[in-house]
Every structure is written in C-alpha cells, then in structure tokens.
C-alpha cells in the first residue's frame, strides 16, 4: 500500500511536469512570449505536487503506527487491560501484532484473535485512506498548477523560491540533528537523575549498574558513580596518546621535511588506508594479536596481566590515531609560510633545527588542535574498547589492569534492552550526555584553535 502511494506520488508529479510543460509550449507555439521557459512551468507543477504530498506521506507513516496501536488497545473488551501494567499491555500488543502478521503460536484466546483481525483491518484501512488522500491531493494540486500556466506567470521565480526553501531546510537539518541529540540525551538523563541523585552520579566511586531485576532480589544494589568509568576512559586515552602523538608527530616531520618524494608518495596513501580501516577491525586485531602478545610478554617477565588490559585497547587505539595526528600535523607544518623555513635555512640552521625550532613552534597551535581532536576521538571511540577492554569498573590507573570506559558501558547497558524505565538503561543516556558534553567542549576548543591559527597566515 505504501509503495503504491509513493508510486502514485511519483506518477502525479511527472504527469504534472509533462502537462504544464506541454501547456506552456503550446502557448509559446501560439506566438505569445512566455515570462518563464516552459521547462520552469513543468518544474513548478512537479515541485508543487512532490513537496507537500511527500511530507504528507512521511507524516502519515510516522503517525499511523501509534494511532493504530492505540485504537487496537482501546477496542479490547472491558477489563482485559486493567489487570496488566505497562509492560504486560506491550506484550499483549506484540502478540496481537504477530497474530495479525499470520504467525500463530499455540491457541490464542478468542479476544486476541478478534483484536488481531481488528488490527489488520485498521492497517488496511489506513493504507487505503492514505492512498485515497494522496491521489485526491495530487489531483487538486495538479489541477491548480495547470490552471496557473499563462504567459505572464512567473514560474521561474516560484520554482527558485521552492528550491531555496528546500535548501534552507537541508541546512537546518544539521541543527535538527544536534537538537535531536541534545533533546534525547537530556530527556532520558533527567529521568535518570530523578532516580539517582546528581551528586551520586558525578562523585560516586562505585559503578555497578546491574540493578536487581525482581523486586526484593538480594543481589547487587545498583550503584551509579561514574568516576571509575571516566578514570578508565582516561587511562586508555593516555595510553593511546602516548603511542600516537610521538609516532604521529615524528612521521609527519619526517614526511614533511626529510622523506624522499617516492617514499612520501607511498607513505601517505598507506597512512590513509590505516585511517580508513573500520574500528571493529582494530578491535578484532586487539583481541586476536595484541592482547595475547601483551599477556605472553607479561607472563614471560613475571608480571600479572589481566586478559583485557587497558594497554592492549589503548595501544591499538593509538595505532588508529597515528594517521589522524600525522595528517593534521602535516597540514599544520605545510601551512607555515615558506619564508620562515627559507629564512632559517639561510641562517645556517640544519633541517632538523629548522623543523624543530622554527616550523614546529609556528605550527604548534594547529598541531595542538589536531591532538585535541584526537583526544576527543579516543574518548568517544567505541568498538576497540568494547571488544578489547573490560566490563568491570575499577578505580585504577594501572594500564595492565582491566578497565572499562564510558562507551563500553553505554553499549553493554543498552544491547538488547530498550525499556527506558529503569535506572540501568537510563544510566547509559546519562553517560552519553557526559560523553557528548566532554567531547563537544574539546571539539569546540580544538576547532577554535585550528581556525584561529589558520587565519594567522592567510
């Protein structure tokens, strides 16, 4: 039904294009001078149909699900829902839907059968109504658009007006996304803070989100202090940066100043490949190669090494960040005016001295900006740590120990669980909020540094 509605829409808009274009051409052929090209008359009809009807279809599709669900539940016999709480009602609804989809397990109660038939008929009705509305609305708009064709009609300006509106909408989509992120995170975080006080979240040193599932269960009480989680994130980030910053910087300096052109031509694409490898691959690399290697090495020299070490996750993350830092530093070094470099060389400085004492300080703001962006990426990086770091939050700074990170906790708390009514899942959103705020602050700061610095030599 939905596909048919889209087909009708497509057909109607193309028809509008053809009709209007032909009508305009006919006027033109009659010897009258048109204000706009006949092509614009066609486009006018096309856009006039396409935009509102498409919006209508999408809105309809977004709204029909909840409305039909509500109608189905309202049509159940009296008293069936009273005994059920929210979760139970959801289960009943899911069962009705699977019945309506033709997946029958066992012998469902008759009222469920009835509800399923009702659900199916409501869906069918909604589809038919959508189709009818789309066809009707398209016809009206087509008729209207066709009636506008005339020698003096300013079709081009109208088309350009619509196109401008569409482009502005596209640009605003970025803001929508940001607003969506902030709204979603804020909303769920506030609900989390209703259950867990802010001070406990920010200053608690114990992170044990596994709350009792049944009431009165004597297992772990949920504890939501994020300090061990952020500490673990920092340990891994520091390990990653200790590897990535020197290696990235040195390779940028080498490539920029010393490397023969041939090596440069090979090394740059290789670094780009390294940057394009998906992080899930790095994660697998960490558990397949790096973690066992570190464990064996630790065993060989008699150090206690846990199976999931911060060192393994951090060093693989460092490898991931090398190309990022090196390409940023390379750009920053290239942005330093040649005259500075030539001046230093003319005074008799060696190349190493030129790079280290002249170019490097001049490029430092850009490099710092790049490193900061790398920090933000390391904090927000998910797959490597999900696969290679541990799950248990510990207050430790020992890189040979197993630590957990903000992103690991978000993923493990939410995998396979979407009930947003307990602190366990909501805690993931609170962590997400903190992650968003921290990385946002670093990003804004870094982008500002990079920008300011770039302007200095322009």
């Amino acid at each position: 039904m939905t596909t048919l509605a889209f087909a009708v829409l497509l057909g109607a808009s193309l028809l509008g294009y053809a009709l209007n274009r032909q009508a305009a051409s006919a006027i033109h052929a009659g010897g009258t001078r048109l204000h706009s090209l006949s092509n614009h008359h066609g486009l006018y009809a096309l856009l006039l149909v396409l935009v509102p009807v498409l919006v209508l279809i999408l809105a309809w599709l977004a709204l029909q699900g909840p409305v039909i669900d509500r109608l189905t539940m309202a049509g159940l016999p009296e008293g069936t829902l009273e005994a059920l709480d929210g979760g139970g009602a959801q289960l009943v609804l899911a069962e009705i839907k699977s019945l309506a989809g033709g997946r029958v397990f066992g012998d469902p109660e008759p009222w469920k059968q009835v509800a399923a038939e009702r659900y199916a008929s409501l869906r069918l009705l909604s589809g038919q109504m959508l189709l009818a509305v789309v066809a009707g609305l398209s016809a009206i708009i087509l008729f209207f658009a066709r009636s506008r064709v005339g020698a003096g009609f300013r079709a081009r300006q109208r088309v350009e007006g619509i196109v401008s509106g569409l482009m502005i909408f596209c640009s605003v989509a970025a803001i929508f996304t940001t607003v969506g992120i902030v709204a979603a995170l804020l909303f769920e975080t506030l609900r989390f803070l209703e259950m867990v006080p802010l001070t406990e979240f920010l200053f608690g040193t114990n992170w044990e989100p596994q709350i009792p599932i049944r009431e009165g269960q004597v297992a772990a009480e949920g504890a939501f202090g994020w300090l061990p989680v952020i500490l673990g994130t920092l340990v891994i980030t520091v390990v990653a940066l200790l590897l990535a910053v020197p290696v990235g910087l040195l390779s940028a300096i080498y490539l920029h100043e010393f490397a023969p052109a041939r090596l440069r031509a090979v090394a740059k694409p290789v670094l780009e490949i390294l940057a394009g490898v998906p992080t899930v691959v790095y994660g697998f690399f960490a558990i397949l190669v790096v973690a066992p290697a570190i464990r064996d090495f630790g065993a060989a020299i008699g150090l206690p090494v846990s199976p999931n070490t911060a060192l393994a996750a951090g060093s693989v993350m460092g490898v991931m960040l090398i190309p990022f830092i090196s390409s940023f530093s390379d750009d920053a070094l290239s942005a330093v005016p040649r005259s500075l470099r030539d001046g230093a060389l003319a005074l008799g400085a060696t190349r190493a001295e030129t790079v280290l004492n002249v170019l490097f300080p001049a490029a430092l703001p850009g490099i710092v900006g790049g490193v900061l962006l790398a920090v933000s990426r390391a904090i927000g990086e998910t797959m490597i740590v999900v696969m290679a770091a541990g799950l248990i939050a510990k207050m430790t700074v020992n890189p040979l120990d197993s630590v957990t990170t903000v992103t690991v906790q978000i993923v493990t708390l939410l995998i396979g669980d979407t009930s947003f009514d307990n602190p366990k899942t909501l805690a993931a959103f609170a962590l997400g909020m903190m992650l968003f705020l921290v990385t946002l602050a670093i990003n804004v700061f870094a982008l500002r540094i990079v920008r300011k610095y770039r302007e200095a030599y322009d």
Partner: protein
C-alpha cells in the same frame, strides 16, 4: 694601543666563534641524523602495524574461504522418510547410515558412539538433504550422491588447525575420531572446495554453515537508505551555505554546528537513534531502515564538507560568465557550477559512504547485532550489517568463527578498498586544473 687591543681581543674571539661553530657542527648534524632516524622509525612503525594487521587477518582468514566437505552415497530410505510426512522425517538417520557404511569399526548399536560419529557431519547436512527431497519427492527410495559440509572440529582438523600431537585430553577430537576422519580421507571422500557458503549462507550458530548473505544484504539496504537521505540533504545544505546563504550569525552557527557534528562520537548517534527513532517514533528495532537513517545523520557532515570544498574550487569566472549572459543565481549554480563540482562531490560521498559501511557502534545500539538466520527482504526486516556481523562472530566462542571473522573482515576491507579506489579514480579522472 687601542688598535692592538682590538686586534688582540677581536682575533681570538672570531677564532673562538668559528671554533665553537666547528665544534658544534658535528653535534648538530648528529642531531639531524637522530631526528631523521626517529621519523623513519615512526613511519616504519606505522607500516609495520598495517602489515601485521593485514598479515594476521589474511593468515587466519584465508582458511575460511575453503570448507571441508564429504561426498556420500545417500540411500533415501523410504522407511525413515515417507512422502506423506514431508518435510518431517529422519534425514539425519539416513545420512548417518550413509556415513557409517564407510566406518565399519563404529559400533552402530552403541548410542554414544553412534552420536559421536554423527558429529562428523555438519548439523546443516540434514537440512540440505531435506530441501532436496522436499523439492523432488521422487528421490525417496533412491540413492543420491551428496556433498555435505563436515562439522567445525573436523574442518579444523582437515585444515591442520588441530594439532594431532597434543595430549588427547586437551584435544577437541579424540584419537578414535581422528582415525575415523583418516579412514574417510583415505577413501577419497573428503574434498576441500571453495566455500561459497561464506557469501551465500546467512548467519548460523554453526561455523561451517555461517555465511555473510544476511549481513551483506542488510548493509546494502542500510547504505541505500543512508545514501538516499544524506546525499540530497548534504548537497542541498552545502549548496545553500556555499552559494546562497548570507554571511550572518545564523549561517555561521549552522557551519559551526556541522563541523561539530562531524566530530561527535558515533555512539552518541546510536543513542539518538535509539531514543528518537525507536523510542519515540516506534520504528522497528534491528531494521536497516533505522540503521540507514542513523548512518545518514553521521555521513551528512562529511558530504557537506566535501561538497563545499568542491564548490569552492570552481573558479569565480565561471559564475561571472554565466551571470553575465543573464542566468539567475540558481541557474548558475545548477546549470554550471554543480556539474563542474560533481566529481569532487562524488568523491566525498563515496568516502562518506565507505565510513558509514564500516561504522559499528550506532548499529549495535539499535539492535542490528541480533542473531538472524535469514536475509532481510525489505528495509524494515530485522537484519545485521557487515561490521556488526564481524562483532558477533568475534564474540562467538567456537574456534571456527575466528577464521570466519577474519574472512568477513577481508570481505569488508575489500569493499572499502574498492570504494576508495573508485573515489581516487574519480578524483584523478575528472580533476581539473583551472
């Protein structure tokens, strides 16, 4: 007197400076050598890491591209399988009987031994036979020649991944099982053909049956949705910001916003999708549609930034010439600037889609890591994607999945390299010097 003093003090000082410089030259050059060596070391380290990565993946992954099979003469016994009861029937018993013909030393009356011998064949073999018989019931009562996969431990044994020299207690296959396999191999029943199931099968709990079909189709759907949303939105936004937007606070804010969005951690986009698309709008979990929408939001900033760069590189003279002969602003952009910028835009889009293809974290949060044994037929069906499939397999305890994971990564990297190669080709082929 004065002259002589200057001569007296000046000459030694000049001498001292030169000396000092001379003395320092060696040190300074050595420093240069150090810096150079360090730089070379850093580059080599990056190369080394890349090669270890590729070599370790290739060496553990190439074995998943073949699969051990056994060829059996299966007598489809009408006592076990009757035409009325299809698709039910004792397909596994029929297969075991066909297998035991070649293993006379197995005592078929002992249940435990019989079960152990059954373990040679993959659990999927009986379904292969079932599908054959259901498709053609005329096979009942006849003998068919079938090639079916062996189960994972025997596959590992055939690929020399199980060391026969280890202590029997610590080995996955005991001595008698290995001798059965050797018997079968001596009879020439074992073959190791190319593992087409890796691409054509969907996911399975059994490594010898697991394939990437579901993940490939799921990824394709998600990428299609991602492209359909992010490409028009991204290009529209970029054209507006680059060509039409007035330079004011609002357009500045949008620009800062887009740059920030490009640097937001991917897992946050997953949270957004989970709360908004699934929680508020009630879209289905695990669906490529939701995955594609999420990836689109992440890809959009990349496309916008690349498109703006491409538009910027079109020289103003083109715009001025078009404006000069009376074209409107939009006609200039859509008729002249955009076609010239298209190769750059395509390059940026392909690179953005390649990133989206490898993205895992947001897909995990919306449930695209579900275990699903069929390929999705619409973007609303539950599905996995390539990177999430890799994640699931990497988590699986069975040995066979280690090589499967590497093989899946090799498939994913092949796609990525291909996409990047196309992007580079486009860039080189259509790049203009103005």
């Amino acid at each position: 007197m004065t002259d002589s003093t200057t001569e007296m003090t000046g000459a030694p000082r000049r001498h001292a400076t030169t000396e000092a410089v001379r003395a320092s030259i060696g040190r300074r050059h050595r420093k240069q050598v150090y810096v150079k060596a360090l730089g070379l070391g850093a580059i080599s380290f990056a190369f080394l890491m890349l090669s270890i990565l590729v070599i370790s993946l290739a060496s553990s992954g190439y074995k998943a591209f073949t699969q051990t099979h056994i060829t059996l003469d299966v007598f489809v016994d009408s006592e076990e399988i009757s035409a009325e009861k299809l698709p039910r029937g004792g397909f596994d018993d029929v297969l075991t009987a066909a297998l035991l013909v070649h293993l006379p030393e197995v005592d078929a009356s002992d249940r435990a031994t019989r079960r152990k011998a059954e373990g040679i064949l993959s659990k999927g073999a009986q379904f292969q036979l079932r599908d054959m018989v259901v498709a053609d019931p005329g096979l009942i009562g006849q003998t068919v020649i079938m090639t079916v996969p062996l189960s994972d431990p025997y596959d590992q044994l055939n690929k020399d991944l199980i060391d026969r020299d280890t202590d029997e207690a610590n080995r996955r296959l005991k001595n008698d099982e290995i001798s059965w396999f050797d018997t079968l191999e001596v009879e020439g029943l074992i073959s190791t053909p190319l593992n087409t199931g890796l691409i054509t099968n969907a996911d399975s709990r059994f490594p010898e049956l697991a394939g990437l079909r579901g993940a490939l189709i799921g990824s394709a759907w998600a990428l299609l949705v991602c492209f359909l949303i992010s490409f028009p939105l991204g290009i529209g936004a970029a054209i507006y910001l680059e060509e039409f937007a007035p330079r004011n606070r609002i357009s500045d804010f949008i620009e800062v916003n887009i740059n920030n969005l490009a640097a937001v951690p991917s897992v946050v986009f997953g949270l957004l999708a989970l709360a908004v698309f699934i929680g508020w709008f009630g879209l289905p979990r695990s669906a490529p549609l939701v995955g594609g929408m999420t990836l689109a939001l992440m890809t959009m900033p990349t496309i916008i930034i690349a498109t703006r760069a491409a538009l910027k590189s079109v020289p103003p003279s083109i715009r001025e010439a078009a404006l000069g002969i009376g074209a409107s602003q939009q006609q200039v952009v859509f008729g002249h600037v955009l076609p010239l910028a298209m190769p750059g835009i395509m390059t940026g889009t392909i690179i953005g889609l390649a990133q989206a293809l490898g993205e895992t974290a947001p897909l995990l949060l919306i449930g695209m890591n579900a275990f699903i044994t069929s390929a999705p037929s619409t973007p609303l069906d539950s599905a996995t994607a390539l990177p999430t499939q890799i994640f699931i397999w990497a988590d699986s305890p069975e040995r066979g999945f280690v090589s499967r994971t590497s093989a899946a990564i090799l498939v994913l990297l092949t796609f990525l390299v291909t996409m990047n190669a196309i992007a580079i080709f486009l860039r080189n082929r259509f790049e203009r010097k103005w």
